[in-house]
């Protein structure tokens, strides 16, 4: 049945005498496979070597601090709304006097939990965040034997205060949404 003039029959089911003999095709197949004996192995031996990942890879989340070491998150809840898997929960708290060095905004997340087993790493939370607080990073999440360990609280999500323990996300922010 012809609907357009762009079609072309691409199948040839007639076998030539040579193809009927089995052996020519078998031998050429054997030659193809044996050539690979001498090729470079494609394998990346994972625990010893690590395959380079794209800097924009969507892996383990991080809650960023600003330059002065204050948490960016203001517990607006947009990430929780945007999460299709409903993996994020948070409880907001009012910043008290004397805590200005801890939290950038007046409101902060007292509890911030991501259920890493629910999370589908789609990156919508990162996009939804208006405060550049949550980012997905190119770190991998390790497996675990205990299901309860996958509820990541602030202790595991917030990056360290010292400069060394900061997580570099500059590649993401630069590449991200720049007109």
């Amino acid at each position: 049945m012809q609907l357009t003039n762009r079609s072309e029959v691409v199948v040839n089911k007639e076998m030539t005498f040579k193809e009927r003999l089995y052996f020519p095709a078998i031998i050429s197949g054997l030659i193809i496979t044996v050539k690979h004996l001498f090729k470079k192995r494609a394998t990346v031996k994972y625990p010893e070597e690590i395959r380079p990942m794209a800097p924009v890879y969507r892996g383990l989340h991080v809650l960023k601090r600003d330059e002065q070491g204050r948490e960016n998150c203001t517990a607006c809840g947009l990430c929780a709304v945007a999460c299709p898997a409903e993996a994020i929960t948070m409880t907001a708290a009012e910043r008290k006097k004397g805590e200005e060095h801890l939290y950038r905004e007046e409101k902060y997340a007292a509890i911030y939990e991501i259920n890493m087993l629910r999370c589908i790493f789609c990156g919508l939370c990162e996009e939804a965040c208006p405060k550049e607080a949550i980012f997905l990073t190119d770190r991998m999440l390790p497996s675990d034997m205990n299901r309860a360990n996958f509820i990541f609280g602030k202790d595991k999500l917030v990056e360290g205060v010292s400069i060394d323990s900061r997580i570099d996300i500059s590649k993401r922010t630069n590449a991200h949404r720049k007109d």
């Binding site: 192995r41 494609a42 394998t43 990346v44 031996k45 994972y46 625990p47 690590i50 395959r51 299709p84 898997a85 409903e86 259920n115 890493m116 087993l117 629910r118 999370c119 589908i120 790493f121 789609c122 991998m140 999440l141 390790p142 497996s143 675990d144 034997m145 205990n146 299901r147 996958f150």
Partner: protein, 178 residues
């Protein structure tokens, strides 16, 4: 698992001979895991990637897939398990020969993931005991390999007697598996 690891060192434990036997058998078992890929959806494709040349699960001695549960050591549940599939999964688990381990790969198998709906089982640990959870949707092959290595650690430190112990029987009983 840590408990058994400790007991290996102790004097009142099964004794030196037994522990070295445990260790030798553990070494052997850990390097000869035959996985049963229970691949239902997306994670199955990533498992293909794990089996393929770039990651090569075969390095861990695990390239011999055994689709028959009798011969498998490791049940890898990959992908969504719907409620209709639950009994099947459980039957496969029951058919496996001891010692057996289970790894839940991906969000769907571990918790149901994004599919919090009427038809999806919210985690396979509601019907069978799970040893290692691998997060991600789907996890990278590296993460799957990481999970397999965790299983290897478990196997290495497992006492030969664990499968006969009362705790293990209780664990199975709590899932209603005799």
């Amino acid at each position: 698992m840590a408990k058994e690891g400790d007991r290996l060192e102790g004097f009142e434990g099964p004794g030196f001979l037994a522990t070295s036997l445990d260790k030798a058998v553990g070494m052997a078992r850990k390097n000869s895991i035959w996985p049963l890929p229970f691949a239902t959806s997306c994670c199955g494709i990533e498992f293909m990637a794990t089996m393929a040349s770039t990651y090569d699960l075969g390095r861990f001695g695990a390239e011999r897939l055994s689709f028959s549960p009798r011969q498998a050591d490791l049940l890898m549940v990959m992908g969504t398990i719907a409620k209709k599939m639950g009994p099947v999964l459980r039957q496969v688990y029951e058919q496996m020969a001891e010692p057996k381990w289970v790894i839940a790969v991906g969000a769907c198998a571990s918790t149901g993931g994004i599919f919090d709906t009427y038809s999806v089982l919210q985690g396979i640990d509601r019907i069978i005991p799970v040893d290692v959870y691998v997060p991600g949707c789907p996890p990278r092959p590296e993460q799957i390999l990481d999970g397999v290595m965790k299983i290897q650690d478990l196997i290495q430190n497992e006492s030969l007697r664990r499968r006969n112990s009362a705790e293990y029987q209780d664990l199975l009983a709590s899932y209603g598996i005799e």
